[in-house]
């Protein structure tokens, strides 16, 4: 990927109970990447390191071809960030909050901000403490977008929100990349959201990147396979992960389904094999099981 907007290289962060282990991935311009992983896998830590909100114990982050050491202000001016929790002055109004935040940014598109608020049905005169969780997230997104960032980074933007609001947020993310110079990185444990709109998917489990690829590649290569008991042997089992056994046989996920297909077609076996599409969720569960 030559035209990367974000490059993460061997990023490392040590805590007493948890280590982020040499995380590397790249996000090209014009696309959405979803960061998938179970709770506590290191999604937020990764995002905070990318935002330079935490100090790493090694590795590099390169954004717009720049690094934080020499260009922190420029990078932050070109990124829009929506954190896990929306922290505002609770007693102040939405209008006041906009005024307060806009003073820190050179480019502030008031008109666009207002149009986002009316689209999201967030009233400017309301106090922050009168807003629901979903409203606060939408306000956070509107504030992040009002400066037309090239890179939008969101940490679990849709978690804990109802499907109506989730859909509104996903639609906005798709609208952002109508401009092919812009990119979005968002983390979620709701794989359904990622499956719909993400172009690239990065799986993080136990502080490690286990898979980072184009979504279409993942969905093409990884399949769910069910096999009748008498067809199962060690060779086949080695090609599958997340294997579940029951009375009838085994079910698991594989990225070698063409290999498995070949093995059986050489033996002229057609019965007792079922290959179907795997969801990002099923792949996640299998990868987690494999890590344990």
């Amino acid at each position: 990927m030559s035209n990367s907007i974000l490059k993460v290289n061997n990023l490392r962060k040590k805590y007493s109970e948890f280590t982020l282990k040499d995380v590397s991935f790249e996000l090209p311009r014009g696309y959405i990447m979803g960061l998938i992983g179970p709770n506590g896998a290191g999604k937020s830590t990764t995002i905070k390191l990318i935002m330079n909100l935490l100090k790493s114990n090694g590795g590099e982050v390169e954004i717009f071809g720049l690094n934080y050491k020499n260009n922190e202000e420029e990078i932050k001016n070109r990124i829009g960030y929506v954190g896990e929790e929306q922290i505002f002055y609770e007693d102040m109004s939405v209008a006041w909050t906009e005024k307060f935040i806009s003073q820190y940014y050179k480019k502030w598109d008031k008109e666009y901000f207002n149009s986002l608020l009316s689209k999201f049905k967030v009233s400017k005169t309301k106090k922050i403490k009168e807003l629901s969780k979903g409203m606060k997230v939408k306000l956070g997104i509107a504030l992040a977008l009002a400066r037309h960032p090239e890179l939008l980074i969101l940490d679990e933007p849709t978690s804990g929100l109802d499907p109506v609001i989730r859909k509104e947020i996903l639609d906005i993310l798709l609208e952002v990349i109508q401009d092919e110079n812009k990119s979005v990185l968002f983390s979620s444990h709701i794989t359904e959201d990622i499956e719909k709109i993400a172009d690239y998917v990065t799986y993080i489990i136990n502080g490690k990147i286990v898979l980072s690829q184009e979504k279409e590649n993942i969905l093409t290569n990884w399949k769910k396979i069910s096999l009748k008991k008498n067809l199962v042997d060690q060779e086949i089992k080695r090609l599958m992960i997340g294997i579940e056994e029951n009375y009838f046989g085994i079910t698991g996920i594989t990225k070698n389904y063409s290999k498995i297909k070949n093995i059986f077609s050489l033996k002229n076996i057609n019965d007792g094999i079922k290959i179907s599409n795997a969801t990002l969720d099923e792949i996640l569960i299998s990868l987690v099981r494999e890590e344990e």
Partner: protein
């Protein structure tokens, strides 16, 4: 052109888009030279990822249904009806083979199927 995406459809999303576009071209709803929506525009309309539409477009291009001109966008290609017919016949043959295999489990052979087809012909 009408494209609708369903999560309940076992086909992957890119294939749903591809097949429906193909259909619009074959039926003549989209004609040679017609401009197609941009990849990003289509993704935004259908609310699915850009990479999914990209795959649908590139497969349609490889199969000769559409043509992409750099900087101008994608257009419906000049498709040859007899090529399409040959391709479709191949697909139908494949489907009949698996149907015959299924039927054979119940001792229904090809003659029975032919008989059935003839009856259906009479009804039409």
């Amino acid at each position: 052109m009408f494209i609708s995406i369903s999560n309940n459809n076992p086909d992957p999303l890119y294939k749903q888009v591809k097949d429906q576009m193909k259909n619009a071209i074959i039926t003549g709803e989209l004609k040679e030279g017609d401009a197609l929506p941009s990849i990003r525009g289509m993704a935004n309309e259908l609310k699915i990822s850009v990479i999914t539409i990209k795959r649908a477009y590139s497969e349609l291009e490889n199969e000769g249904y559409i043509i992409t001109r750099r900087g101008l966008g994608s257009f419906v290609n000049d498709i040859r009806k007899d090529d399409l017919r040959r391709e479709k016949m191949g697909e139908i043959k494949g489907r009949l083979e698996s149907l015959l295999e299924d039927a054979s489990k119940f001792d229904i052979d090809i003659k029975d199927i032919i008989k059935l087809l003839k009856e259906m012909e009479g009804e039409r």
